[in-house]
């Protein structure tokens, strides 16, 4: 049972434009949501997180939005840069410290 879903396996965006990566979840008990970025042959690296009591968190070019009623979160990257090309994973944590990852979305930023 996939509790965290990323329905778009890939996304291509022109450099300078906005990238929007989406994630849906089914468990209303998640406390925290995180986004990770992964380059080939490297471990995922933490990007940004959001608590379930907030609806937006911003860090530089990265903003995460949480819509609890829709059980949906999104990561916005603006402006997108070629170095942002990677696989992006969303993850969610329950209060019992169970950690669930989505299947990832491959972002390609075209120069």
């Amino acid at each position: 049972d996939q509790q965290v879903k990323q329905n778009s396996p890939s996304l291509s965006v022109q450099e300078g434009r906005i990238s929007i990566l989406n994630c849906d979840y089914t468990n209303s008990m998640f406390d925290y949501f995180l986004w990770y970025k992964k380059y080939p042959a490297e471990g995922p690296t933490f990007l940004i997180s959001i608590s379930s009591i907030k609806d937006k968190n911003e860090d530089g070019r990265f903003t995460v939005f949480l819509n609890k009623s829709a059980k949906h979160l999104s990561l916005h990257i603006v402006p997108s840069q070629p170095g942002d090309s990677a696989v992006y994973f969303c993850a969610a944590i329950t209060g019992a410290n169970n950690l669930f990852f989505g299947t990832g979305t491959r972002l390609t930023v075209i120069p």
Binding site: Y36, P44, I93, N97, L99
Partner: protein
């Protein structure tokens, strides 16, 4: 920045051999995870570990796999009799709510 380390970075083994993948998680973290990614496929959860025992495991984590934290610092994944399909990148993760840090991975190649 806290860091999770993994050794070796690359392990080549013959089918049927035992391998041990090692991870040094962050010292004050309480939960530890192993994930793997077969080339070109999604990152898959293997097992989570808390308080010196397995708290959750996936269908992949059959009786050929085991984990332990022998000395309070290392966290190991053992595959008793490797199969060709075990070839993958194996990632260790260290977690203390809400922060999750991944190691750089061990590439396991089974010949």
């Amino acid at each position: 920045e806290p860091e999770v380390t993994q050794t070796p970075s690359h392990q080549v083994t013959q089918m049927g051999q035992e391998v041990i993948l090692r991870c040094v998680p962050i010292s004050n973290h309480l939960y530890f995870y192993w994930y793997r990614q077969i080339l070109g496929q999604k990152v898959e959860f293997l097992v989570s570990f808390y308080n010196n025992e397995i708290s959750e495991k996936s269908e992949i984590f059959d009786d050929q796999f085991s984990v332990e934290r022998p000395d309070g610092s290392n966290f190991t994944l053992k595959i008793r009799s490797t199969k060709l399909e075990d070839s993958a990148m194996y990632f260790c993760a260290s977690f203390r709510n809400p922060f999750v840090y991944f190691g750089p991975g061990t590439r396991l190649t089974v010949l």
